[in-house]
Point group: C3
Chain length 129, copies 3
């Protein structure tokens, strides 16, 4: 459980960090709130944060359910790949949006694996009653 909690906290801190990058970009490129457009680099940071939010709402519940079905080390490995994938995505997207595929794949593959584990586990649980 401690490993899953540790990965959860790291994923939350990573998302917090991405939010700080958006704030910094807003100041640096002079995009006044509430505007979300007007500078391409700022928009890239916004998209990284938004895309991470969209994955985080999948990743966290999928991670928590998976600990009921596979060993903590599997969950830890998938969690680590997700976290690394998000940093790869950040670097690539800010440099050149069209190169974001690798980082996206690296962070969405573990989520798909977790969801598959959870789906099989839940369906088995339903069959057993």
């Amino acid at each position: 459980m401690a490993l899953v909690e540790f990965i959860t906290v790291l994923a939350l801190l990573q998302f917090l960090y991405f939010g700080m990058l958006v704030s910094r970009a807003r100041n640096r490129y002079g995009v006044k709130a509430p505007s979300m457009t007007g500078n391409e680099i700022f928009e890239r940071y916004v998209r990284v944060q938004m895309n991470t939010l969209e994955l985080l709402i999948l990743f966290l519940p999928a991670l928590w359910l998976a600990i009921g079905y596979v060993t903590a080390w599997w969950v830890g490995l998938l969690g680590a790949v997700y976290l690394i994938g998000r940093f790869v995505y950040l670097r690539a997207y800010v440099a050149e949006p069209s190169r974001r595929s690798l980082g996206f794949g690296l962070s969405s593959m573990p989520i798909l694996a977790l969801l598959l584990i959870d789906l099989i586990g839940a369906v088995r649980g339903l069959i057993r009653g």
Copy 2:
């Protein structure tokens, strides 16, 4: 519990699917990242995904808390209505945004019911100490 886990996984897979529809629309209508505007149909898919994200962050915790207060079958029924409501919302919004009310209502009513169950349960728990 297996039923709640099953509904959780279905809601996550549905949201993942909505995200894939956004990616497909981005390619199909030639909206280059990081831009989020420029094609009306693409924007409709984006709004369906965003609105689902906004509901999912309410639905999942509300669902998980409710299993402490009502039978799994009630939770299952409300979950099923939410999932169907989201698909109705998707179809209506993409066809004609002004017709999105039915799908929105269908998927937000179960959330309101779950939140009410949770609120009564939590307040009772606080009173009992």
Copy 3:
């Protein structure tokens, strides 16, 4: 536990309320779906909702993990500050976006405190094995 569930439900209801303010602003200022821009006051409500979504995905897991490490009353206090901070943020942002810092700080400080509690707890758990 009842206190944590109560705070969870309040945070969800608050987010639901912020979503309703966005809907109302959309109607009042005539911003047709799927458009997200075109009226400055509408955009302010949208940003309050989005920023709250970004914090909620941090706040809820951080809150739930913290109950394993500190007493419910600490968790309750931090939760209350978060909720008040969000209302301060709403009022300030809608009135004048440049004055949003106090409300943002008030609602993000408890999240940072919860994440720190969770991080220390998880690392200790990992060391103990």
